[in-house]
Structures are given as C-alpha cells and as structure tokens.
C-alpha cells in the first residue's frame, strides 16, 4: 500500500478578520497516529478543518502527496481523506446501519447502484467498531460511547487512508474514551490508517500518540515523540501551567501532573480534621 503524505506549508487561516493559523508547517507521519494538543483557541480545530478543506487557507497550502487539496476533485479527496467533525448531526430516527452506509457517499455516483462492495465496506466498518449488534438500532437510543463508535464506523466505511478526528472523546466518560482511542489504535495497526486527531486530555494524547504536536498561538510550538514534547517547560509555555512530568508505569509514556496553588503535600496549612480527602 502506498501511504499518502499530508503536509501543510506556511498555512494561514482564520474566520472573518481573525487570523487563527499563522504560517504553520506540519508534515503528518504516514501510517502513524498524530495527536494535536494546545490551549483553547490555539487553532487546533482550525488546523484540522483547513487540512480537510472545510475552510480555505488565507496563505500557504495543504498538500496531499505534494498536490494542493484544493486542486483535487472533492469526491476523489473524500476517498483518501476522511474527517469526523467534533459534533456531527445524526438525522432523527436514523439507524446505525443507515448512518454507516452514508460513508459510502464518495464512492458512488449520483444515480449509481449500491453494490456488494458497498455492503462489504459497511459490514467491515461495523465489525471493526463492534457495532454489528447495534446495526438496526436508532442512533438516538445509543449511549455516548456507542454513538461515537457508530460515527467512527461511518468514517471507516468511507475507506480513507487518512482519517482526521476533532476531539473524538469529548462528552465520553473515561472508559469510553479509552475504548475509542484503543479502537483508533487498532485501525492504525491493522489497516495502516494514518490518524490525526485533536485531543484535550494531555495524558491520553501522550499515551496514544506516535507523534505529539503542541500548538500555541496558531503556530507549531513543538512536535515529536511524546516524551520529547510533553515536558514541564513546554506545558508551562503552551498552557501557562506549572506541572510535573512522571513516567506512566503501564505505558512507559509521560504523564503530566498539574501544579496549582493549593493542595500541595508541603502545604503549610493544617488539613481539615475529620475529612480525609
């Protein structure tokens, strides 16, 4: 399989008068998991939107295999590059199977027939996300974690080699967050899907990323292996937060422990009696 290379060069973008991305250069590692982190409003979602052509760059460009994505026909691009937005909308009453089959859109012409290949792609996507048992259930009856798996199945049915996800774990409780991130790692390892996602949780980002990208002020601040990027110095600069980094004994990846103004072991104030924390 040839792996597609997604890069940005000197990418600037924004909404109205606001410039949100300011000359950003990023080369996504093909076949790996890249996680983008940064403070609120640092431009992470905008970067993802620009990389998937939802917004046009002001300057610079987004390149797929060296070709500007704005010069690739939209259906063709949609067969290579998939995106799961932060809050996709499920039409009222739609079943999981129906939703997932919509991922076949770029593979079909305006009046083309549904083929066995389409059925197989949908079934494979349902199997990979363990949503086969849910196939005939309406989306509105599912739990948050199940619903997110169904959306990922839709993106899988699109059969793209590159998959971008904007905060795929928001609104999920911790066990479902892990479930979704494990699922994406499975896809990356078994299908070789290149994954680029924005995550809020730094520790989950460090655990699941092959490549961690930290953004600040619309620019790339640091980029590399998680242990290179998740450092006390970088956290201070990117988030304005004091922290301590330790190593997770299970994954061997760095964990960031924030340091606030209170609740320190060396805190001179006496602990409140009768209230063990």
């Amino acid at each position: 399989m040839t792996l597609h290379a997604l890069t940005t060069s000197g990418l600037s973008a924004g909404y109205g008068d606001a410039v949100i991305l300011d000359g950003l250069d990023l080369a996504v590692l093909p076949g790996r998991i890249t996680v983008i982190v940064g403070a609120n409003a640092c431009g992470k979602s905008t970067l993802l939107r620009a990389m998937s052509r939802l917004i046009a760059p002001r300057r610079g460009q987004v390149l797929l295999d060296g070709k500007s994505i704005h010069h690739i026909p939209s259906r063709e691009l949609a067969r290579t590059l998939g995106l799961l937005p932060q809050s996709p909308i499920a039409p009222e009453g739609i079943t999981v199977a129906d939703l997932v089959s919509r991922g076949r859109h770029p593979h079909q012409g305006a009046f083309a027939r549904w083929t066995r290949g389409d059925d197989e792609a949908v079934a494979a996507a349902l199997a990979a996300t363990r949503t086969i048992e849910l196939a005939e259930r309406p989306m509105d009856e599912l739990s948050g974690g199940q619903r997110q798996r169904a959306w990922i199945a839709m993106a899988l049915a699109q059969q793209t080699e590159v998959l971008l996800l904007d905060e795929p774990t928001t609104f999920l409780d911790i066990s479902h967050q892990i479930e979704v991130l494990d699922l994406l790692t499975d896809l990356n390892q078994t299908r070789g899907t290149t994954i680029v996602m924005v995550l809020h949780d730094l520790n989950l980002a460090a655990r699941y990323a092959d490549e961690l990208v930290a953004m600040a002020g619309g620019r790339l601040y640091a980029c590399g292996r998680p242990e290179e990027v998740l450092t006390e110095h970088n956290v201070r600069h990117v988030f304005g937060l004091e922290s301590r980094i330790i190593i997770d004994p299970t994954s061997g990846r760095p964990i960031m422990l924030p340091i606030g103004r209170h609740r320190m072991a060396t805190d001179s104030r006496p602990a409140r009696s009768g209230h063990p924390d």
Partner: protein, 346 residues
Amino acid sequence: MTLPAPALDALIGNRRRRLSRRRLVIALLLSIVAALFALTLVLGQSYTSPGDVIRVLLGEDVPGAGFTVGQLRLPRAVLSVLAGLSFGLGGAAFQIMLRNPLASPDIIGISSGASAAAVFAIVVLSLDGPAVSVFAVAAGLGVALLVYALSSRNGVAGTRLILVGIGVSAMLESFILYVLSGAPAWTLQEALRWLTGSVNGAQLDQMLPLLVALAGFGGLLLSRTRDLEALRLGEDTAAALGVRIARTRIVVIVAAVGMIAFATAMAGPIAFVAFLSGPIAARLPGSNGSLLVPAALTGAILVLAGDYCGQFLLPSRYPVGVVTGALGAPYLIFLIVRINRSGGSP
C-alpha cells in the same frame, strides 16, 4: 476484523427490507394520489360514471359530462397534482437542506414573494400567462436572497433565518392585500387565491409550463438527492464526504424556488403544503431514505384532498388553501412552542 458471513447476509437482508418498505410506501402514496384524482373527476356536485369520464378523457364528446369533467374537474385535478408535487418537493428540499422543518419556503416568505409578484404582474402590469410565472420566479429568488442576506452574520443560523423570513413574509402579504384592495373588480375568491391559494378556474392549456417547470426543476433536485441526504449529517460531515456544499446549496435553492414559484403563479401560495408535506412523509411508518419523493406525493395528496374537502365536505365552498391552512397552523404553533422550550432550532 474478519467478518462472519451471517452478519453480512443479515445486513444485506435488512437493507433490502428497508428498500422494499420504502417502495411500498411510495406505491401506496401513488395509489392514493390516483384514487383522489379519480374521485375529483367522478364525483362533484353531480356524479359522472367512470365510463363517461374515460370517454371524455379520450376526447369523445359526451353530452352532459364533457364540460363538467373536461373543463371544470380535469384542469382542477391536474393543477392540484402539479402544484402539490411542486410544493411538497420544493418544501422538503428546503427543510432537508437547512435541517429545520420551519425553513420551508412558505414560512420564510418565498411563497408570499412569488405570490406578491404574481398579483402585481396581473393587477398592475396586466400581464398573463408565462410572463406572470417569470415574475414569480424572479421574486421568489429575490426574496430567498434577501432573507439569506438579512439573516447572515458570521454564517447563517437557522433560527435567525426563520424569524427574518416570517417578518418578510408578513410584509409581502400586506403588499398583496394592498395591491388587491386597489383592484375593486376582484372577487373575494381571487383575493383568497393570492393569499392562501386556490385551484379554482384552472385551465388545461396553462398546465404545460407548470409541467415543464416541475419536470426540469424537479429532475434537477432529484439529481441532488444523495448530496441532500449527506447534508442532513451537518455541513462539515457532508463536505468531508465529498459534497460541494456551496454548489449543492445554489442548485437546490434555484430548483426549489423555481418549482414553487411556477406553482404559486398558477394556484397561489397554497397554505402550508410545502411546510407540511415533508414532516408528514417522514412520519409515515416504514419511511426511510430520502424524503423528496414521498414528500412530493404527500403534497399532491394534501392539495387534492384539501380541495375536495373545501368544495364538497364543508358547509360552504372554500378554496384549498383555507383547508390546508387550518391543518398547517396548529403544527406551526407546535413547532414554535418546541423552539421556545429548547431555546434553539427544533
């Protein structure tokens, strides 16, 4: 990630079942349209035997039935079907595209715009025939553009567009009243046509342009079925699936407005047919997939049944728009109450 064969078979089986249920719903709607069409031809003030009706339709001269069926009932039934299809299809296209049942052309002023232009063209400019339709289409597109421009601020939000549309619609309706009140020779029936819609006084030779408009614009809309279905997942998802959002939007707006304006120039803005057809079609048991075709057929049923009720089942004769208006208004109130409760778009 290997797939057990039974799971794939079950999936294919379920998809086929959904498809055949959908075909059944469409066939059922089609037969209701045909039945109501036949009823309109056979039974009015007087009864005409089906045999006589068929002979009239074949062009034979049948004493006592030729005028009633050929000149009165047939044009009325044909206009009801064509206008109903146009309103149902155009309305559902808008509702799907803007993902909001309130974003129907008759709520956001497009129908009143077309109606106002038609009245103006007929009363003030003394035009008739296709010229009126051209006016109506231009005004419909103009209003669509105006509402869109007035409601866009950092992108168009659904609720703002609807509120602006309701305001524009109210203004246009008072304009219609103003023009009509300056034309004393006009009857109440004619005034009602331009305010609520009516299929009274239809003539068969006026139906051809409407049929051509429906075929052209309707075909254009139906060719966008898949893109519209993808848009229901939100614009970002649709774009990620390869839909060209801006182009799809323009095609859908032009086609839906064109179709609705042509129908309005003939029958007036038949109240709430565009607004009701999609939601009714969506609630039919077994309804799945694109709503466009079921909504179009539902529109035809609403106009045929509404006109029949208005003529023969109520104590006095009312134009179809009065009947469909009485059906649609409670649903409109229900939706607005729901917006109020949720504080956002329904």
